[in-house]
Subunit: 293 residues, 2 copies
């Protein structure tokens, strides 16, 4: 018997992830604010829902992958929100949102007998398309076990962070912070060598063959070295939203994070200058420009 | 015929490097300010020199591996300095010093018909002992070719950065900056997750298995996660000296480097608090302490 799951949010990430759910043999009830995004999935047999609520099979699983805290709250708690119809089902919440919102939503689900599983992801849309995401998850253990096969259909690996529904979101925010920190570091380092007559590309090649021979430095480093910030994996304004969440979580936990503050300001300047059509790593241009390049 | 080379500076790094030069079949004339450090090498056939000058075979190669710009200048230019006896030989300068000093020394060597090859290294003493260092080098091409076999005897790989004698030192400074940036980033990230109830170790394991699966994050990350900063690979005061050079090179090139400035202040606080008996990654404690931990 094919289990039918709901999927809400068909942006660049959501569409790729939902496609892999379908490929894995699940039935799919899909909802997106702009319905035409759903077309490729309808052609593969998905059913179109006219509201978040309609995407839900009572007692079943519904996935959300939307842009921010407000959007998750809207599709969950609104008049036609998913929670009203979820019964004792599970809400698999994959958006990058604040730990605080995750904890609050988990409480609201529990009150009605439903479960909330936090499950943000690491990876760009092309990684999502290949089902090579890294998923981090936390929440009620039974509910987590129930959604595991679904998570695996979208990812190369799932990492468990226990019962606290906020935990997975903290890890996701820490990860986006670490990515930005690596970009800032390379931006300063490559600009330093450039001003001393060494090509950015030469420095990039040396460091990614030695001390920093890993995914993030190779990938983002290539953008920072070439100063060509295309294609857009994620926009500056989207990641600036995440840095707002990082700073909010840091404030809540009383953790001074000066480097997070610096990167947030870099992203603010990038958005202010109208550079939202380049990848968010383009905030590295703030460093070059401050050095008169 | 065995070529005899001079080796000046037998600290933790120098002693390990000189031992590998001897093992590779070179003859060795060694000088160190405190002569008893030379004993293990004398037992293996090295000859003790009473001054930097005495370590030189005129027209030959002399290696220096000392603590800072001043120490390189002292052993090179002083009354008993190596340059007075070098003739048309090559000075292989492996210390971490400023690009400015490297360029100035190269000019002084050239005036007398000698050559200066910049050749700083990446790696801790135990890496040096295994001849697994990464060497970065720049300077006159003929002189570089002449010292190549010697560099290879101490390293796993040699990376060339062209004719400018300052270039290799800029790369070395950029590398030490990138290392510190990774430590600061992990310190902020791990403290954030800790304050939100996730163990530092859990975050460390996740990130080094996914986005940051590389040498630096695994190695320094283990220290920052455990908050146990032993053994001492390099002391806070030694690396604080390097950050002084980074900031000097940035000022010379007109490159604002706010992250380098932040790490320099972290190291200053670490030294001020009398924590020079722990590894320099211990500056991460400044982050935990600022968060009240």
């Amino acid at each position: 018997m094919t289990e039918s799951v709901g999927f809400i949010g068909l942006g660049g990430m959501g569409l790729a992830m939902a496609t892999n759910v379908l490929k894995a043999g699940f039935g799919l009830r899909i909802y997106n604010r702009t319905a035409e995004k759903a077309r490729p999935l309808l052609e593969r047999g998905a059913v179109l829902a006219r509201s978040p609520s309609e995407a839900v099979v009572p007692g079943g699983i519904v996935v959300t992958m939307v842009s921010d805290d407000q959007a998750v709250e809207d599709v969950t708690l609104g008049a036609n929100g998913l929670l009203g119809r979820l019964g004792n089902g599970v809400h698999l919440s994959m958006s990058t949102i604040s730990p605080r919102t995750a904890r609050r939503l988990a409480d609201l689900h529990q009150e009605g007998g439903a479960h909330y599983v936090a499950s943000p992801v690491f990876g760009k849309p092309e990684v999502a398309a290949e089902a090579r995401l890294w998923v981090v998850t936390s929440g009620n253990a039974t509910a987590r076990a129930r959604v595991r096969r679904l998570q695996e259909a979208m990812s190369q690996r799932v990492f468990d962070f226990g019962e606290d529904p906020g935990a997975a979101n903290v890890i996701k925010l820490a990860g986006n912070f670490l990515l930005g920190a690596a970009i800032e570091a390379m931006a300063e380092a490559f600009t330093l060598v450039q001003k001393h007559g060494v090509a950015r590309q030469e420095a990039y090649e040396f460091f990614t063959q030695t001390l920093f021979d890993c995914f993030v430095y190779r990938g983002y480093g290539a953008l920072v070295a070439s100063e060509h910030y295309q294609p857009v994996g994620a926009s500056p304004s989207l990641i600036r939203k995440d840095y707002g969440l990082i700073i909010e979580a840091a404030a809540e936990g009383l953790v001074p994070m000066p480097l997070a503050g610096l990167i947030h300001e870099r992203l603010t300047a990038t958005v202010a200058k109208g550079r939202d059509d380049a990848d968010w790593a383009g905030f590295a241009r703030e460093v070059s420009e401050s050095a008169g390049l």
